[in-house]
Symmetry: C2
Subunit: 346 residues, 2 copies
Amino acid sequence: MNLRRHDKPKATMRDVAWEAGVAQSTVSHYLNKTATVTPETKRKIREAIKKMDYRPNMVARNLKTRGSSILPLFVPDITNPFYSELAKGVADAARRKGFDLVLYDTGYQRNREGDYIEMALRQQAGGLVIGYNLLDERLWDRLEQTSTPAILIDVYPPNDLWSSVVVDNEEGIRIAVDYLSRLGHHDIAYLSEPPYLLPLIKRQREFIRVMKERGFEVRREWILVEKQQVNRVKIGFTLGKELLSSPLRPTAVITSSDLVAIGALNAFLSSGIKVPSEISLVGFDDIILASYVHPSLTTIRQPKFDMGQRSVEILMKLMSASDQETPVVEIIPPQLIERHSCAGVR
Amino acid sequence: MNLRRHDKPKATMRDVAWEAGVAQSTVSHYLNKTATVTPETKRKIREAIKKMDYRPNMVARNLKTRGSSILPLFVPDITNPFYSELAKGVADAARRKGFDLVLYDTGYQRNREGDYIEMALRQQAGGLVIGYNLLDERLWDRLEQTSTPAILIDVYPPNDLWSSVVVDNEEGIRIAVDYLSRLGHHDIAYLSEPPYLLPLIKRQREFIRVMKERGFEVRREWILVEKQQVNRVKIGFTLGKELLSSPLRPTAVITSSDLVAIGALNAFLSSGIKVPSEISLVGFDDIILASYVHPSLTTIRQPKFDMGQRSVEILMKLMSASDQETPVVEIIPPQLIERHSCAGVR
DNA sequence: TAATTTTATGCATACGTTTTCATGGTGGGA
DNA sequence: TCCCACCATGAAAACGTATGCATAAAATTA
């Protein structure tokens, strides 16, 4: 009854073949270049395709080839700029390989992780990109049983079965300390969110180690580590205030992440402490925000976009390998991004 | 040769049926509750499923039912916090309806838009969520021809064929002006990114209209609209500086978006102008960043998460409607989020 | 107990492709 | 002229599921 839309039934390959006066398999051969076909028939097929507005049905194709053109990405919170940049890199590389990125945002909810992995497998995903350390450790076993390859990002693999892409966390901290040191700082504090993940633990350990190695004193009251909260900016704010209440004030601060740094920055500014003239600040990650705050944040960059891309490349290799490849752990070098939150000590 | 992984072939419904000693169709009926089945057979099937570690193949299912369990979302840049929050809302609602969110990030590239829509259709997507105004207008016709329903977000539909979800832009501006007015401001400037989209045009027009209506003077040099650049924070910075160079300085500023506001904030701070004591600032959108800068930004909130959710609901209705529904344009009320970038005029 | 309805299960086909293999036609070398 | 290699096309069988329909068994009624 409604004339506005005709609702043509979708054309199938059979329709195209009929229109072109050839067999359905010939059309398939033409599309997939899986057999030679005469220029003349090519022409007819092309025209038929155009005329019928034919569009290959990927679902049927995937069923037949037992493949899948989706690439699942697991993140805890796409709203976190770290993960959205990562997602962009993964999506970009996936696209280039002909995959569609499907987003699984678990919201840090343990039970969702298992459900979402299940969904991904039902979609016949041939591999997974896991962008953070899953909360539910039992999933590693379950995943291993399905023999579905996966690549972890920013995670040190829980055992020697998994591949991953991580930034060189120790090197990042070294770069930060040495940079501040070159500016004349040696009274340096370290503020961290709860170090429940290996990357954070490594950063903290390396901070202490390198400070000692450089001959700088490390004071307990300058190593402030949050135990409870989850909101990183609030953590930074709290810890920043706490640091200011200490009788001795450092001349510089390194944080475990940019979000913590931004919180600390707000703490300092709201206490009337000038950054960077009174206190210097170095973050970690280089999320977009870092360049937006005032003063803009000097930070240790994790090349998230590149890490996303690289992870897809590795995963593709794992997926196409007939045999079990030996897992790789790829270490990406971090990079100092100099902006305006650091100054020389007077 | 490799003993570490057995690579069991995936169990199919047939395998389960065989194991349980029933017919494949019975298993299907059991799983889909499409026929009554004896408790005893249920038990056998359940056990077989567990034993074989069976997992339904969605690809086959989708082929058979000519459906699709994916929901494509188009955004220009997932890295932009506005879109990542939107994506979260869409993903959440989609999940609840049993759909997987696949992310199409066009990177503001015209030619990608068409390609990605093509990919989405090949995946047999039954509907699209389009999170921004497509650059390539020809796509509207093409989309209309395929008779695939779509829902637009933050976009006024190009014609009366499409449904959309938009915030009440005029109301948002009114709220901002009236809020500042209550604080005693009447010298208010407006800074805007290039108004190439209807929402931005509306905001600007409404600003002028409501200022006049309230009896406030609108000065040409206080309405600063960028023409060239794309980076919104830079735009804000440039415009902010430009505003300061004007002989008369307003006591308050409204911007077209939070990112512009943050740029302007940086411009003010770096010129030694105190915010909010010397100048008040109101943004638009309420992206997460708004609460992270110092001082935190008072802004007009677009409920992005809710808008994402609502759009999925509407789209689902469109998709299940056998007949062509009459398109709906849903207007969402904005909301004032009071933070610390505004002060009463002394 | 026979007739009838209800309940539980299975058979067979189709969804839109890919892919193996067979077949008829074409041309070149001897 | 005959044989063989090659080339272009097609026929047919899957891939793993949903579903209409038939059927056998059980339950109900008379």
